[in-house]
Structures are given as structure tokens and as C-alpha cells.
């Protein structure tokens, strides 16, 4: 069964034309998404502060693209995934999905968005209902969208085969009878069951052991090509992100600090944080051991983040300017689509290294 097959088309939940905006229209545009979680204390439930989990994230994901989102633990990657799925309501921000603005009254509803966008979670076990057989778990979503039970089960079994699990053998099993890799395949099938156009993979392979991880990554690439999908691939594993992604967005403390193609990020990282992240990847060459920590310290508390540039407390190039003014996201001279939020990239910013784009490597030597 492929997407172009007429029988597959008959199974389709929505009669809406799939590609509404045309190939040049980005699949997803996020503008200034924000989520601050209130911290409540005491008997009166007074709000004493906010965790600024996601603070003004803007992203563009092109059709058929795999966008990798990387960053340390606690930088807001997972919150961002849930915000995009609207499992958590954002405080502010705009979303445009394939040309349609998300809006309950005039545009695309959350319900309609969820038919076009699905998510795979990190924990393969807790994301499957322990009381449901896996074919029922996969058939649940289509059934909730008005597909009949028999048809949904048929689709479920078809998808099991698609993700490399023989339906005859696995369909009637329960999640605890499957291995981690098999369960994650079920979760992928479950996400594909409503025939989404976009899938958010929130650390989807991070909990698997390396050999299984490689198999599941291959499967994801295969499915992306077969079903013409767009992925947002959230991970802390830089090598995996490099392997699977077309473009990468680097997050630090609730903000995107740099975006660019894989090559732009890998060969010409402009933001000191991105450079430090890349330098932290252990080398396989024993002659090139990492001897000095690329950056020191922990990320600052997101309840009370640093003023100005959020990375300044750990940045070797920080100056007074960095504490007073937050750097704007701006395009990098060298390449299309490469953007960075750093004063050093802006010749007019007043930073002493402005325009030179100093490198972390230089001071390490």
C-alpha cells in the first residue's frame, strides 16, 4: 500500500487535498512560540515565578524535510514538541501549517492539525496502553477519527507490516511481550495510522540500544520516503541528528540559537554554544581525545534566566553588551538558510569581536 495507490486514497480520513500550499510553502512555520510554566506556592496558590521553558521560538520546516532539534537536557526540546502538537497550549505564538494559520474559529483547528501531525515519544513502553493489544493500539487513532473498526484494524495490520513487524505474529500481542525496538516500531505505526503529513519524533530512538537504534533510524528514513513525510527529529544525540537530518536547529534555554543545514552547522558553526556542543562529541580517534571541557558549568536556571544573551554566563566571549541586549536572530553571510543569534555575527552590534566570528577552537589552543 502506498500513498499513490487508489485503495490507499480511499482509506484517507480527510478528503482535504493533502498538499494545500504547493511545494514552495513550508510545511510548518512557528512564530515566536512561548510557554512559561507558572510556579505556584503556598496555600493561596500564588504564582511565585515562571519556568521559561520555551521563550520565543521561531522555526520553519520545509516539506519533505527532516529538521533536527538539538540541545542539552532541559533546554525545552520536549516542551517544544508538545507545544507544536498542542498537547500543551502555548502562551503566545503563531503557527501556520501548510499555509493555513492555526486558529479555532477562522483557520485550522487543533483537531484538524492532529490529523496531519503526529508524535512518537521517547519511552516506548509508557507510550503504549498495557491493556491494549498492539493492533488495537494502532487502530485506536483512526477509529477516533471516524474510521470503522474493521477498516481501522485492517489498516493497523497493514502498518505493522510496513514497520517490519509481521502482523500475523504481533497483532494480538500486548506491549510487555515486545522488545524496546519492536515497541518503538509499534509507536511509529501508531503515529502513521491517521496518515499524517508530519511526524514529531521526540527522542524517539534515544532509549534504544545502538544496534536497534540504527535499525529504527533506517526504518524512519524508509517510511519518510515512502509516505512523503516531514519530520521534526528531537534528540540530544548529535551524531544521530547529523545522520538523519537535512537541517538542524540548536536550542539553548528555551531559545533557538542557530539554524542551518547539516553541513553549515557541522563545518561552519557560528554560535559559541553550537561550537561547544560539537566539540563535546567524543572523538573515535585516540590521538584526538577531548582533554579540556568545551564549556563548563550547568545551564542557568530557566526560572530566572540571564539577561540579554542567555548563553553569556558560560560564553568565553561574553561582554557587557551581551548582558544588556538579547541578540537578534540574523542570517549568516556564508549561506542561505543559516541563521544565528549572536552579537559577534552582527558587525554593527558593538561587540569587540563583531563581524569576526571568533572561534572557540582558537581560544582552546
Amino acid at each position: 500500500m502506498t500513498r499513490n495507490d487508489p485503495s490507499a486514497r480511499a482509506l484517507r480520513i480527510s478528503d482535504m487535498p493533502r498538499d494545500r500550499g504547493g511545494p514552495a510553502q513550508p510545511m510548518l512555520i512557528l512564530k515566536d512560540y512561548k510557554k512559561h510554566f507558572p510556579i505556584r506556592k503556598g496555600v493561596l496558590n500564588r504564582t511565585v515565578g515562571h519556568v521559561q521553558a520555551v521563550d520565543g521560538v521561531s522555526l520553519t520546516v520545509m516539506k519533505g524535510e527532516i529538521l533536527g532539534v538539538v540541545g542539552e537536557s532541559g533546554c525545552g526540546k520536549s516542551t517544544l514538541s508538545r507545544l507544536i502538537m498542542h498537547l500543551i497550549e502555548p502562551d503566545s505564538g503563531e503557527m501556520i501549517f501548510d499555509g493555513d494559520p492555526l486558529s479555532e474559529h477562522t483557520g485550522l483547528t487543533v483537531q484538524a492539525l492532529r490529523r496531519n501531525m503526529q508524535m512518537v515519544f521517547q519511552d516506548s513502553f509508557s507510550s503504549l496502553n498495557p491493556r491494549m493489544t498492539i493492533e488495537d493500539a494502532i487502530a485506536f487513532a483512526p477509529m477516533m477519527n471516524g474510521v470503522g473498526r474493521d477498516e481501522a484494524l485492517a489498516r493497523s495490520r497493514g502498518l505493522l507490516d510496513q514497520v517490519g513487524l509481521a502482523a500475523a505474529m504481533f497483532a494480538r500481542r500486548y506491549p510487555h511481550e515486545l522488545s524496546g525496538g519492536q515497541r518503538q516500531r509499534v509507536n511509529i505505526a501508531r503515529a502513521l495510522a491517521v496518515e499524517p503529513r508530519m511526524v514529531i519524533l521526540d527522542e524517539a530512538v534515544s532509549a534504544l540500544d545502538k544496534s536497534v537504534e540504527a535499525q529504527v533510524l533506517q526504518l524512519l528514513i524508509e517510511l519518510q520516503e515512502r509516505f512523503d513525510l516531514t519530520y521534526i527529529f528531537v534528540s540530544h544525540d548529535l551524531n544521530v541528528v547529523r545522520y538523519i537530518s537535512d537541517r538542524i536547529a540548536v536550542m539553548y534555554l528555551g531559545r533557538v540559537v542557530e539554524t542551518g543545514s547539516v553541513d553549515q552547522i557541522w563545518d561552519n558553526a557560528r554560535h559559541p554554544y553550537t561550537q561547544a556542543l560539537l566539540a563535546s562529541i567524543p572523538s573515535l580517534d585516540p590521538d584526538r581525545r577531548t582533554t579540556a571541557a568545551p564549556i563548563s558549568g550547568d545551564p542557568p536556571n530557566p526560572i530566572d534566566p540571564p539577561s540579554g544573551c542567555r548563553f553569556r554566563t558560560r560564553c568565553p566571549f561574553a561582554e557587557t553588551l551581551c548582558a544588556t541586549t538579547a541578540p537578534e536572530v540574523q542570517p549568516v553571510q556564508d549561506g542561505a538558510g543559516h541563521t544565528v543569534a549572536c552579537h559577534m555575527e552582527n558587525p554593527a552590534s558593538g561587540h569587540s569581536r563583531a563581524g569576526t566570528g571568533a572561534r572557540l577552537k582558537e581560544i582552546a589552543q
Partner: protein
């Protein structure tokens, strides 16, 4: 790095090929629970004794050798084993065996009915509170807390005293007493399940709140709530007996174990064995429910790994 697509047919292609012909059907959850119960002799014996008690109560009119309400004044206080009266007679000369058989009907009713109703009402309220959280949770749980401020026996006495005596009022008061603890258990297990990823995933697939509760949450919280409710049945029997003992439940000449215990208490110095008989049955029945509840608890704990 090569992006060519490798064969990802299965993690174990050889095994998959061999077993493909035979559709694999895993036993369902309840089949597993039943299998485990079958291997638990204590629970099986308790269940057998309970079935015996229930059957003897249902078929009391067929089994009872005498009318439970008619006594012979000449045959008062005959001891256990007296010819013609297997378990002796009470203070007005009524046959004890017949009265105990009939008494089971009222006692079991007042044990099971209030718990069953409280399970439905309290389970619904508790699961709703846990699932929706926020203000819904606050309202339901704070009202529950008010009921919790009173010890259960005092609450039952207060409600029963207010409504008056009789079987129906006993059932109402016991139901009200058992709703708060069931709400609390349901709320706490639901809160744990609600935040798990599979509920989030189902929500992301477009399921409405009611469907989420019905298909995703309920099957995962039912077992602990059911186990707890089973353990309440024995408490209900004891409370009902207590209410009758205090004169608030069913009234004489009805045959009910608690009431019989009450009316025979003056005879405890004359024939302690006879006076203890209704108590023995109360003990036995509640013991059975407790053992079954324990057995269910371990049998239902089948690889949940929540």
C-alpha cells in the same frame, strides 16, 4: 554515511518466517488473572467457602428446617447439637440454624449492595477528578475530605440515625460511607495513569476526553479499584451488623447476623457458644472477602509496569 534502505523486515527474520503461518494469540489480561487465581489455594478455598455461604443464603427457604420467626417458648436456649435443633435455639426458642441461613440474606445484601453502588458512583467521580484535574478535582476532593473528617462507623451511625431504621436506610448510609474512600483511591490511581505517554498519544490522535477515559484510563485503573472495593465488603458487613446491633439497622424480629448477636448478648453467660454463632459467620464471611481481595491484588498485578 549511507542512507540506503536496508532490510528492516523484523528484528528476528528467521523466527518471523517460521511462526508466520501460526497466528499468535496472546492470552488476554483477564485470562492471565484467572490462571493465576487458579494457582492460589488460599483464595480458592476462601472463594469456595464464600460461594457456600452465598448459596445457603439464597436457598435458605429450602434449607431451613424451621420457620426462622416462629419459636417455641418451651424450647428456649437449647445448646448446640440439641436433638432436632442442630445449632440450638435462641432466647425465644427459634431455631438458630434457620435464623442463621435467613440472616445471611440481609447481611450479605448489606455487605455487597452498598459497595457495588459506591463503586459505580465513587469510581466515576474519582476517575473524573483524577482525569480532569484542576477545579473539577478540587471540588470533588474537598467534598470528599469533609466526609473523611468523620470515622466511618460514626458517619454511618449519624446518617442512619438521621434517616431512621430499616434495611433501605442502612444501605443508603453505608453507600454514602463508602463513596469517599473509593473516590480517593480512584483519583490517586487515575492521576498516575493520566500523565503517562499513552494517554497523551491518544489525546494527540484526536480522541475526546470521554473516549480517553473509557478506553485508555479505565482499563488501567479498574484492577486496583476493584481490589479495594472487595476489601470494603467485609467492612460493610461488619458496619451493617454494628448498625443492627445498635438498633439502627433492621429491627427485630428480622433475622440478621448483627441483630442476632445483639439479642443474644445477654445469654453470653448462659451459653457462650450459642451467643457467638452469628459473630462466627460475620467473621467467616468478612475473612473470605479479605482473602479474596488479597488474592485478586496479587493476581491482577500481571506485568503492569506502569
Amino acid at each position: 554515511m549511507n542512507r540506503s534502505v536496508k532490510d528492516t523486515a523484523s528484528e528476528f527474520p528467521a523466527v518471523a518466517g517460521r511462526l508466520n503461518a501460526v497466528p499468535s494469540q496472546s492470552p488476554g489480561y483477564w485470562t492471565l488473572v484467572r490462571k493465576r487465581l487458579m494457582r492460589d489455594p488460599v483464595t480458592l478455598i476462601a472463594a469456595a467457602v464464600l460461594v457456600l455461604i452465598v448459596l445457603s443464603a439464597i436457598f435458605a427457604p429450602l434449607l431451613a428446617p424451621y420457620d426462622p420467626f416462629m419459636g417455641k417458648i418451651t424450647q428456649r436456649m437449647k445448646p448446640v447439637g440439641f436433638a432436632g435443633h442442630l445449632l440450638g435455639t435462641d432466647e425465644t426458642g427459634r431455631d438458630m440454624l434457620s435464623r442463621l441461613l435467613y440472616g445471611g440474606r440481609l447481611s450479605l445484601t448489606s455487605g455487597i449492595v452498598p459497595v457495588a453502588i459506591a463503586l459505580a458512583v465513587g469510581g466515576f467521580l474519582g476517575i473524573s477528578a483524577g482525569f480532569f484535574g484542576g477545579p473539577v478535582n478540587s471540588v470533588i476532593m474537598r467534598v470528599t475530605d469533609i466526609f473523611y473528617a468523620f470515622p466511618s462507623i460514626l458517619l454511618a451511625i449519624a446518617i442512619c440515625g438521621m434517616l431512621g431504621t430499616g434495611l433501605f436506610n442502612t444501605l443508603v448510609s453505608l453507600t454514602l460511607v463508602f463513596i469517599p474512600p473509593i473516590i480517593r483511591i480512584s483519583e490517586s490511581v487515575t492521576t498516575q495513569v493520566r500523565s503517562l505517554d499513552f494517554v497523551e498519544a491518544a489525546r494527540a490522535s484526536g480522541a475526546r476526553p470521554f473516549a480517553l477515559m473509557r478506553y485508555q484510563v479505565l482499563p488501567n485503573v479498574l484492577a486496583p479499584i476493584l481490589v479495594y472495593a472487595t476489601s470494603l465488603v467485609s467492612l460493610a458487613i461488619i458496619l451493617a451488623a454494628g448498625l443492627s446491633f445498635l438498633g439502627l439497622g433492621v429491627s427485630a424480629p428480622a433475622a440478621e447476623w448483627g441483630l442476632m448477636l445483639n439479642s443474644l448478648r445477654q445469654m453470653i453467660y448462659i451459653d457462650p457458644l450459642l451467643a457467638a454463632l452469628p459473630g462466627v459467620l460475620i467473621f467467616l464471611t468478612s475473612m473470605c472477602f479479605n482473602l479474596i481481595s488479597d488474592g485478586l491484588r496479587s493476581a491482577m498485578d500481571v506485568r503492569l509496569k506502569l
